[in-house]
């Protein structure tokens, strides 16, 4: 196991270097204890493959997604303009992120405000490395394991990407069991649209509990997510159903990092 070395874009630029890709970490990936593990797993993969990457570090700010979805267009655009100034200042061309919300916002909502970049979700970026022969994945500890994949709304329905994560999982030689509702019909984990930051309205059930039930129905041993928020919601749902001893909730990046023993 090698130590992780994560340069900031400021450091790299000072050394006169430009990274191949900017890793946009996002707020959850930077601050949430669970999500930080995903961030590190992905950084380890990049380092292992030899992708030259950098992060913005303290120069990164919230993309504004939760503000926009909470109706605050003004705050969203303030955040967007600040981030675009930083990104354009460094002449960033290529961004990869482990958060589908950041991915969607950077990819779809920044261009009109002057931020034009090639933006990829980590499942797409890793899949690209795989196809280019730079990343080799072996099943490792997951060979033959029953797993299910939860489509993040902002990767799937919002951006039409259903295959990249599944192709990666295929390489891990797992037994992929689809949930009743998957791909276009995938059920939301309940976090999007700024719901993550508030109590749910009065109802008869919690969305993440219902989704956890659907995942458990597949008898999967691992529930794979591709979003730090989905991860939190599903982990919580599995716990609520008292299945946390048997069923793990992992991110795609964590699966690959674990399989490769990084």
């Amino acid at each position: 196991m090698s130590t992780l070395h994560v340069p900031t874009l400021a450091q790299m630029t000072a050394e006169g270097k430009a990274p191949e890709v900017l890793f946009w970490v996002g707020c959850a990936g930077s601050f949430d204890d669970r999500a930080k593990k995903i961030t590190k797993a992905f950084a380890k993969i990049l380092q292992h493959v030899g992708v030259s990457f950098a992060v913005l570090g303290t120069e990164e700010g919230c993309t504004g997604d939760p503000a926009k979805r909470a109706g605050n267009e003004f705050l969203f655009q303030m955040q967007a303009m600040m981030n675009i100034q930083v990104l354009n200042g460094y002449e960033v061309k290529h961004i990869v992120t482990t958060c589908p919300h950041c991915f969607n916002t950077l990819k779809n909502e920044y261009p009109e405000l002057g931020g034009n970049y090639t933006v990829e979700h980590h499942s797409q970026f890793l899949n690209g490395l795989l196809k280019a022969g730079r990343l080799k994945i072996e099943g490792g500890q997951f060979r033959g394991k029953k797993i299910t994949f939860h489509d993040p709304c902002y990767l799937g329905r919002a951006n039409g990407e259903y295959e990249a994560p599944r192709e990666l999982l295929e390489k891990l030689d797992v037994e992929l069991r689809e949930m009743r509702r998957c791909k276009q019909n995938g059920l939301c984990c309940g976090a999007g649209g700024a719901q993550m930051f508030k109590e749910a309205e009065k109802g008869t059930a919690e969305i993440n509990h219902v989704r956890a039930d659907e995942a458990l129905e597949t008898k999967a041993e691992i529930v794979v997510a591709g979003c730090p928020f989905c991860n939190t919601m599903l982990t919580d749902g599995v716990k609520n159903r008292e299945k946390e001893a048997e069923v793990q909730v992992l991110d795609l990046a964590e699966m690959i990092a674990l399989a490769e023993e990084l």
Partner: protein, 435 residues
Amino acid sequence: MSFLPQLVFAAVLIAAIWRFSKKAGTIARNIHLGKAQNRSDNPGARRANMLRVAFGQSKMQARPVAGVLHFIVYAAFLIINIEVLEIIVDGLFGTHRFFAPFLGNAYPLIIGFFEILAVLTVVAVVIFWWRRNVAKLDRFHKPEMKGWAFTDANNILYIEVALMFALLNMNAVESLLPEGHEAFIISNSIAPLWSGLSEGTLHLLERSFWWVHIVGILAFLNYLPYSKHFHIILAFPNTYYANLKDKGQFENNAAVTKEVALMMDPTADPFAAPAPDAEAPVERFGAKDATDLSWINLMNAYTCTECGRCTSECPANLTGKKLSPRKIMMDTRDRIEEIGQNMDANGGTFQEDGKSLLGDYITPEEIWACTSCNACVQACPVDIDPLNIIMKLRNYATMEESSAPSELNAMMTNVENNGAPWPFSQMDRANWTNE
């Protein structure tokens, strides 16, 4: 020969078309009470989308039973209309089965085919009725489906059956008349039911069925604008003008962009008042009432078939929250209708009625339950976007009323102060790299 039936027919036809056009014009006016939104880019892709989704019924097939049944009713409608053309010609010119001599031997085959379609339509409609009234499918029985919505849904089915019944029996009775055309494939089996009646009675019956069928169709035409059945027209423009971009891309408000650019521009003088533009009306952020929405949102509302596919996929609705994307669409339509009627009653100008879409129709509890997951948009077979309306209502609630739930206000304060939705310092953002 008396010209009276022809005159009556012409009068009925003209009146029906005139009345329908007038009402359709009112709906078009109401739709254009919405804000302008340019969706005329990319005509090729738009045509392709309309062909696929409306003509091809592609999104209907996600539910195979309803999809196939609907396809039958839909295809039968389009095809049987060829016969309606003949009926109109006959009615206006006093001819009888005007197309028959031109089509020769093909005529019985064609009408026979129409008869088969008519029977299939009846079967499909009976199953539709059964699913709604006996099996009571969940999506047809949500709170917003009470009252007119429920009555309307059944009315359509009854009218369909009545029209098909008249068409088949007209052919059957005619075959028993000495000068009548022989029966076709289905009417052949119905004819014996009417045998034994006097020639005069048969004549009367044949004419009655003819009139019931055509007047029924014209009446149905005039019923459409009051019904979810208006979708048979609006499904086409609605899919043409649908959003073709990624569903995750929400619009950026251009007025806000200008303001933010000014604020961020270090050379801008914050005290230099912008040139007062007396012409420009004070724009409201987001939507409070139906007229703050775009014409696309309003066309969506008039297109809604009330099928409830959106609601049955909605995570909030599935977990017992009040939010139902179908209700969002129905409320929007009801409110813009109310505004339109208010205008008509007041010589074309809206008299303030103290009501608004947000508050009187749609409650804050509904809009704040949405996860912006796009399941409703994905599910809609006619490309309606309820989420876009919900987001505009949120824009108003947050930016104009500052009435977002308090936890969201706290989240936004964090974003504003420290660049993250939680109260962590921006300076700690990279701490994970050496933890």
